[in-house]
Symmetry: D3
Subunit: 324 residues, 6 copies
């Protein structure tokens, strides 16, 4: 297909990139890195989970969760639907087991190197994680159904619940999140993070897998939404695009490293709506039923039923002013 269309008559010397030198240069750069990070020669192949493997796994899980809407075009309900779901889960879980192993092994070798895990224990833990994950899938489906209904009720442009599952980036993000969060709580945060980034890349919605989100959650449009690791979100919450539930400036310890793990993102109670572009930072609480206006910048708690808007939004806009 890529056949060139013109003659190449001149006796050209073929390009010589000095490939040997470049390969040596890259080799040296890798050595330098490995020395700096105290990595010894890895004789056993790449040890990291694979983004593309997780992409496949999530796609299969989506098909198994919503077989008639995200599964293959020609599936029928009835007995063949269960054959499909069973076989698809079988393949997905088997492949997930391998990824779980890779993360556990990686942690064992590089992170807790002083105290490596016994291989047999590691394997048992991997199997246990996948088994627990699998067992939660029916509940995850029920939870996702509440999200789909919330989106249907929340968007006047939606024609049917089916459209929500097929088209809405917010749906894709919450499916990924509920799977990623389960992985996170089961002890494979790197897998969880990769799953979250898959959704981030496709939808522009960046939810850390650590965030805890109640049922009937809906994000409209969604591009630019960021939800931090320790955020806690209640039931029936609705967010619009570019909303940030973030941390304030990190606490730096005396030794210059960042303090990790402490609660540092907002708590958003039930029935809150946050409009586009609003930024809520720090471990503050947004009381239930509150409404946070577009572009609002909020770094303290507000009580239940609050309606927060930008001060200047109503009265400080200057028109016909000079050039920006």
């Amino acid at each position: 297909m890529n056949a060139p269309l013109r003659p190449d008559p001149l006796p050209a010397t073929a390009p010589d990139w000095g490939l040997d030198d470049i390969v040596r240069g890259l080799h040296a750069a890798r050595e330098q890195w490995r020395l700096a990070h105290d990595r010894k020669l890895e004789t056993s192949g790449r040890e990291f989970p694979s983004r593309s493997a997780l992409h496949d796994i999530i796609e299969r899980l989506c098909s198994a969760l919503f077989p008639m809407r995200l599964g293959p075009v020609d599936l029928r309900q009835g007995c063949s639907e269960d054959f499909y779901v069973g076989h698809t889960l079988d393949v997905a879980l088997r492949s997930l087991l391998e990824q779980v192993r890779l993360e556990l092994r990686h942690v064992s070798r590089h992170v807790s190197r002083q105290n490596p895990v016994d291989p047999q224990q590691l394997e048992e833990r991997a199997v246990d994680i996948v088994r627990r994950f699998a067992a939660q899938l029916p509940d995850i489906r029920v939870l996702l159904d509440t999200d789909v209904e919330a989106a249907y009720r929340g968007d006047p442009a939606a024609h049917s619940v089916d459209e929500i599952v097929l088209c809405y980036p917010g749906t894709l993000a919450i499916i990924h999140h509920r799977l990623a969060h389960t992985l996170y709580t089961l002890g494979v945060p790197l897998l969880a993070r990769i799953v979250a980034e898959l959704a981030h890349s496709t939808t522009g919605i960046d939810i850390h897998p650590g965030a805890r989100i109640g049922k009937s959650f809906f994000i409209d449009h969604g591009t630019g939404v960021v939800i931090g690791e320790t955020a806690v979100i209640g039931e029936r919450v609705r967010l619009y695009q570019a909303v940030t539930l973030g941390a304030k400036r990190f606490t730096v310890s005396a030794d210059g490293t960042l303090e990790k793990g402490a609660p540092r993102h907002p708590i958003v109670e039930d029935d809150v709506v946050v409009y586009a572009g609003a930024t809520i930072l720090g471990r503050v609480t947004i009381g239930r039923g509150s409404s946070i206006g577009g572009n609002v910048w909020l770094t303290h708690s507000v009580s239940a039923g609050s309606v927060v808007t930008q001060a200047f939004a109503r009265n400080e806009m200057m028109e016909n002013g000079g050039g920006i």
Copy 2:
């Protein structure tokens, strides 16, 4: 390629996920959903349009609209160009017909269930929709050429019109929009929405297919742009990243449902420029030739020739203040 590299010597028992239980659990969850939504058993296969099929269709249409720039690498102008365009359209339209059928059938079964459409009528309508769509393609191409020229005139970094077609996410978004809007006006809003989401996912630009946009339209950078369903945009309008042309809070009827369909997004007249991050909400009118500054929050109409900027942008910034 994925061959494991180490022995697996231990007589391990194979993982048993309790697959039968999970399949039953998922089956029950689906049943519950179908009951809740009054769906009867579908014995005839999945009925929804397919995102991946539409992805293919749009790719082919892009190739047919711009054969020398988005078509295959080795295409030549002249008679083989028309063979290519004709064949590519033939495949794309045939495949589109199937997707149109799926949407019409879905609507007939689930949305207007009381009043199902006669299959023959449905088929005739599907064919008619595709025929009308196809007939508009030359005009769409002419319109897109004005958009490409607008981008070239509007971006000092652009070296050639060809670069605009090949590289600019705004170009991708407007091609998708003009195709999606045509589908929307022809009565297949679900297909239109899927096409819009394809562009949203790739470019971060979220234009509802209902939006009416005049010629010579240009979006620069684009990530985070949201344009609502009833927005009306004139000719030679230019938008930057993260601009929202949205609705204000929705009107909720007495019965608690959202009011649908009413005009609720801005009208932007000819020759308006809206800078990055500006938010314009509600059925307001931005008079022709106006310039809306970056991050401006605007919820009322402005007359022709207005220049709107943020009040504080010039004089209220505090420097060396305390921590955020």
Copy 3:
């Protein structure tokens, strides 16, 4: 797989889209465009670089730069690692040479049409560009290692440097940028731009390949970041999502065209942090060690060590105000 499941019993007439007319209409639209842009018949095939070819090339380069983390799953360190790197580079550079040729030829024919380049000279230049590009790869790898370390130090949620390479969209963006910037400085700006757009589409981070960025650079979250063509960024700079380093309104010459190429984007000195949503416009300088708060809108220079926040962020928020 797509077999229809129902009979198709009616003797329907097959759809006739009037394909001949549409092909003629599109042909006419293309002719009109070519006339308007003074393009003569191209008898030699498509002349533009290919986005999908560049996607492949960049993927291979990523694998060659980080073979154990972005390369194939079953690679081992040691001698086979160098075989892999050498072969992968060989394929990537060869394919890049073809794309470089396409850009140079395109420029020669359409942009500097008065003064076309001699084919042999063009070929020599293409080979020279690829050779120079290849020679810089080891240095690029060293530079990227500083970026990865900066991310690790800058994000309290990061568990290991490996996680940074595998999961962080900011890492993907800076790898693409450092490769794109090298292409830009070597004289193939169109290729550079396509590479930048590949990252933009995946990460929502839009860095113009012309931007100059020092070592240890880190973008967290990233969606909505825009960095302009003439921006200059020092070492150890950290940006959050939705930060814009943009130009102010363009200068329009007397003849109505935009002035091109002049420095028009910010200079950000070493050790600066810019928080989410901040917008910095024009050729201003952010002094070293400064901290620019979230959502700040800044169009003038600030001296070293400045801490800039939104005035209203602390004291002007109105709560329980009326509807937005």
Copy 4:
């Protein structure tokens, strides 16, 4: 990957093949053919079964028949095995239904054109054929197990029954034949023939789907074996490569056409062995337990227990004779 490596500096005129003329010439040739065969314009797409679709279907059926040996590498026995079998059959049978429809429709339009079948009846017949086919699969598996055991007992080089299923072309041929013969008896001879040719192409063994073959059948090596449409083969028969069970010269009717359908191939009774290269022609009977020697040419019946060899095989070979 196919990037050319040399410059193409000469301003060559692009090749012009006179494509319009060739397309017209081919169009005329097709018209001539359609006229000669009284085909009217087909406005409804290609109507023939598809070789590649049948290839897929047979592959799936093989996997469903022998899941642990011809199915996917990572299948496990137990409940996931049945999920796999159920889902694989579901896909295969659905796809087979479409192919059955295509054959029935083709026959209805072109072969029995005077008496076209009602579409609804045609559909019912198609479904009925697939249902009957599906119901026979367990029996076919049992029959194939006897063939595998026969091969194991018959070949001193075989190490295990598993090797027979994985490696022996004779096994591939008999699996295809037993499926093809079932299709043949159910009334879709064209599908049956395509399935037979798939095996012929891979193994060089050409068994007409009409042939009736008893259990425990074994063909060793196999290349060049030809078994005709009306051949009847008993139980525990063994054939070697290049054996022909063919027809004698066809009877030509007065009108010059060949007489069709009459029994014209051999009957081979139980426990017969036919060695390599033997040719048995016409409706003759090879009595049970007979042994037909290599290269024998046989056109009459032989009684049970016969041992037939070439006369010259033992005593008429000339050595050191002249040049051939």
Copy 5:
């Protein structure tokens, strides 16, 4: 999919194949070969035509020759059929041009090394060959139609002409041969040979592209047929499986090399039938209307209307003789 299912707990050392030594050993073997054959370093990439490229080209040509039967499933007759044919030919011929170039260049460098062809002349010749080839396609289609009809008339098992095109290996072989023979006569024998081997591999029918074959040719079953380079076959000839039209022992010159190019295979006149397994060797003539029986070994000419059978076929078979 290939995830291993068991733990790999033992700290195994990774296999070390001594890859460096093997690569050096293979390098030395290649050097030795290149020295022995006086090949200098090829700095310009592989120079041979590609079997897989030719496979693609032939598949496209088959689709263009028989669009409704070998083309895509959903093609319709009428205007879209010609778009398809035109575009398919465009791609196929372009790709063929590249392969023709590769053969001509290879011959110029290695075979007629003393007298290398000027690159521009070579290009002109390549274009000329493809143009002539393309121009003959309509005639080839007409010729192939006669072959299809001959098969239909000659096989009592055939239900329709369509079945012949779809299922018969003899049809596949003759389509390949008529294309290969055209390439052979146009001066690209290596391409022709590769095309012939593609058919040989699929059908077991081995026709040298040099053989001249008249219209209405039919090979039944076909496995094992061999037709030599200088064979000449008239019209309406019918062959069965395992027929050889070969050369007698080659003439060896005084210098020990084989004499090339001289006519050394049979001439088979019009209306001849050759039954399965017959071997005809040397430049003999089989007179028109003759019938050559199965397994006959023939090394001299026979006059028109001859009926040749094996002497022993009727009366020398020994039954119940000893063991072979």
Copy 6:
């Protein structure tokens, strides 16, 4: 692409194949087989080597053995050639190791079940086999070069040695054989057999991997050639199509099983030629320099320099005899 073209208006009931019953039936058939063969439940996944994996491995080995002729189109000689060879071998050997493991494990479990191999020993043996195999590759290449030269000298139609490598099925067969034979002698006969069948399927040439074949071996045309497990072939031997070097009737032991392993195929000494269709059976010796004529049937030894032809070939052919 497979979009149906007609409406499907009738409210058909979807086909119901009784899938549950069929799955149960197949399950029962498998159980029956497993009981009959004393297989216990395999909880650890499929244990057999994979034909498609071996296909890949052999393709990579061919590319590594002949990089400039069977490798990728755009490879260059020089340093990039060795990178390619090294990387290709690395992937191929790694994948081969997995297949070797599968065979050893299969043997350990099913064949020598009484005496299972210790897993660690098994792994060591697998690695050892691949290491020895790899070490022989340079010698195999040298040997294959003699075969290629023999083909060039032996076929008057060959234009260049390159053509032999690219086109000749005999070359493909001998490359596969020399690799398969090495595997066979190293103790993985099942892998060896699968490799042999890959060549058999493509070329119609069936060489048992146990056969020992000297250098400079050439098979012309080849379809139908069969060479048995214990055959021994000297140097510079030439065979034509349909030659059999087979066993006579097998010796059956008192217990009814076939005797295995004993030498039972011919010894063919140096410089022998065997013409098409000749059959040589049993442990006979064909003395060096002999010539065995076409279709000869030979079951006893002949001394050096013999010329054997069919008795009737010269004088017993009957012409114009009755019908066959």
